[in-house]
């Protein structure tokens, strides 16, 4: 047996994920999210207008219902998008990476670096327009547990990936 120690650690001394300071994502992502949501809202509004016009003769009151209802839904949608951005963030520790998001349903996912299968740099068309990049982290925990950190500048994204890869390789060597 090699050098081995198994000292008990009081739970108060363990590193705490609740004390992590999360790095906020790039501000450009906020613009991107809002533009994306505006486009979706326009699509929704267009659908609502057509639906209203079609049923206007049968049910005249529908015009009020759909305009007020539609406005509230779109407003909430935009607000959640806006404030939700400030809840997103990532934190890198020596041995794991955490990502948090969600305004109404908040979620912190922490992936130990030793459990990462591989990582990817993803750049969609909108990302390229904004000069942003996402890091996608795959684990063996199934697709529901894969973590994607969006809204990173290409440089930071590459740095994160490099860091992860160096840790994975070191793990494989030892």
């Amino acid at each position: 047996m090699q050098e081995f120690s198994n000292a008990q650690i009081a739970s108060a001394d363990l590193p705490k994920i609740e004390d992590l300071t999360f790095t906020r994502l790039n501000r450009k992502l906020l613009t991107q999210i809002l533009i994306f949501r505006i486009i979706l809202s326009l699509g929704f509004a267009g659908f609502l207008v057509i639906f209203t016009l079609k049923n206007l003769e049968r049910i005249p009151q529908i015009i009020w219902a759909s305009s007020i209802g539609g406005a509230i839904i779109i407003l909430l949608f935009m607000l959640v998008g806006y404030f939700g951005f400030f809840k997103k963030g990532f934190a890198l520790r020596e041995k794991d990476i955490s990502y948090q998001r969600g305004l109404i349903f908040h979620k912190i996912t922490t992936v130990p670096l030793s459990r990462i299968q591989h990582s990817e740099l993803v750049r969609g068309p909108m990302d390229r327009m904004f000069g942003l990049s996402s890091v996608k982290i795959y684990t063996a925990g199934g697709s529901s547990s894969d973590v994607t950190i969006p809204g990173l500048t290409v440089e930071i994204a590459e740095n994160i990936r490099e860091y992860i890869n160096s840790k994975i390789e070191k793990d494989a060597d030892s």
């Binding site: 109404i104 349903f105 908040h106 912190i108 925990g141």
Partner: protein, 499 residues
């Protein structure tokens, strides 16, 4: 039996031709059935029955030639630490499986293979969703010999790679090791298991098969679907009580039949390196589960099983979500002492873990579940009551009241306990289950908190493993973060192989 030189390509057993033909027969049979459709629909008057005979003969002849060519073109051998399978008639395929990637080797025998003295050998590779390699027909003795040979080769690879591995891997490489038979399920025990199955499940399956076939037949033979269902349902309405009784009996018979098919001659043996499970009446399956591949195990029970002191064991192995169902090995009918043996062998930490603090869900979870399982039936009760359907209303009300009881009991029975090495989760009232998960097998951890939970300082924890995820809902924020931190610490400070 001696393994002949595997460096040159080898063929399947000659009798394997029959197996390949029969396997293909499913495909050819489908072609035949579709060929039948125009004859039965009678839309085309020029069709006569002898034409179908010719058609069938052509299809079968083609099938026979195709099977022969597939058999002739099937080769396997070992080349430079890789297992090579070459196959294909028109589209040639060559699969290379690095020996060290082979996780387990299964021997499978269906009834035809048993009669012909043949077996299929399945090579299981690590976690990928890609279909595992299967050699369909080898002489049984040869298959078993090849299995041991492959596992031994794999072990050699292991030794070559890491001369100074930790103790676990060294124990794994000793090819001859003592084997202890943990349990053999006798006839009476299987009967007991069959009788105490979850019969609701069986009846659902029967219903599914029944409706599946009626729709299929009506499609093929051009029946009007609706009229068939109408007839069936009027028929049912007349003799419903009798039908329920018969249906229940059929369900029980079906459960017993299914259990016999799956678990006949079930033998579980324990080795230091893993667990070997073999069973099956018509289709004999042998599984070997290396300790490393076990992600977590689950003990399950139901009221009937509790009565006779049986528990079922489900072993979850590492696999991508797509194939995880296949990778779960089930052992029904474990008795108390067998449960203890398994626990002592693979989970020696169990006793420490169950002495830890019990983490229980907050009553707010109960409120949320009530809202759904009691609130909705009550709402429907009101609607039914005001529309004058008193009978429906009282039935729904009764449902709501029973839901109160079961939901309350369900929440009360939930508890999680964590020691440094082991996470134990208990849940379920009618169908209790207990999950044992070694902490270093965890893949990642998520802490969820909705705005409603935030007000009450509660969180839900989700633990992801390589074989599905486990949740611990609505626990105190402090407990939740402590649990997550401890799990992460356990994972990050461990250098044991999780697979």
């Amino acid at each position: 039996m001696q393994i002949a030189d595997l460096s040159t390509p080898r063929k399947l057993a000659p009798l394997g031709l029959i197996i390949i033909f029969l396997q293909g027969l499913k495909k050819w049979g489908q072609v035949l059935i579709y060929g039948l459709i125009p004859f039965f629909q009678g839309k085309n008057e020029h069709l006569e029955f002898w034409m179908f005979g010719v058609f069938a003969a052509v299809v079968l002849a083609f099938g026979a030639v195709w099977s022969y060519l597939s058999w002739k073109n099937y080769f396997f051998h070992i080349k430079a630490d890789k297992f090579v399978i070459k196959q294909g008639v028109l589209r040639k395929e060559e699969s290379l499986i690095p020996l060290e990637r082979i996780q387990t080797v299964h021997i499978k025998r269906n009834i035809v293979q048993q009669i012909l003295g043949l077996a299929a050998l399945q090579l299981d590779t690590a976690g990928s969703a890609k279909k595992e390699a299967e050699i369909p027909a080898l002489k049984y003795e040869y298959a078993t010999a090849l299995k041991t040979h492959l596992l031994a080769l794999k072990a050699d690879e292991y030794v070559g790679e890491q001369t100074e591995g930790n103790q676990d891997t060294i124990a794994k490489t000793t090819s001859v090791e003592e084997e202890k038979i943990l349990m053999k399920l006798g006839f009476l025990d299987i009967l007991k298991v069959g009788l105490t199955e979850n019969h609701f499940k069986s009846s659902l399956i029967i219903l599914g098969i029944f409706f599946g076939y009626t729709t299929q037949f009506s499609e093929i033979f051009g029946y009007e679907e609706e009229s068939v269902f109408k007839q069936v349902f009027t028929f049912l309405a007349v003799i419903i009580p009798l039908f329920v009784l018969v249906f229940f009996l059929i369900s029980i018979a079906f459960s017993v039949w299914a259990v016999f098919m799956l678990y006949f001659d079930l033998t579980v043996s324990l080795k230091k390196s893993g667990l070997s499970v073999s069973s099956g009446l018509l289709k004999k399956e042998e599984n070997f589960i290396p300790v490393n591949k076990i992600q977590y195990i689950k003990w399950k029970s139901n009221p009937l099983r509790k009565l006779i002191g049986f528990k079922s064991l489900a072993i979850y192995q590492a696999a991508s979500a797509e194939v995880s169902r296949k990778k779960t090995v089930r052992v029904p009918g474990c008795k108390k002492h067998q449960q203890e043996t398994v626990q002592n062998a693979f989970y020696p930490e169990y006793n420490t873990a169950v002495n830890q603090k019990e983490i229980k869900p907050d009553n707010f979870w109960l409120v949320r579940l009530f809202l759904f399982f009691v609130g909705i039936p009550l709402l429907l009760t009101c609607i039914a009551f005001f529309t004058g359907e008193i009978l429906v209303a009282s039935a729904l009300c009764a449902l709501a009241v029973t839901a109160v009881f079961f939901v309350y009991k369900y929440v009360q029975h939930f508890k999680a306990q964590l020691s440094t090495d082991l996470l134990v989760i208990n849940k379920g009232f009618v169908f209790p289950e207990q999950v044992l998960l070694k902490t270093f097998k965890v893949q990642n951890v998520a802490v969820n908190q909705s705005v409603f939970q935030k007000q009450r300082k509660l969180v839900s924890i989700k633990v992801y493993t390589a074989s599905g995820n486990l949740s611990i809902p609505y626990i105190k924020e402090k407990d939740g973060f402590e649990l997550a931190n401890k799990l992460l610490y356990a994972v990050e400070s461990s250098n044991k192989e999780w697979m």
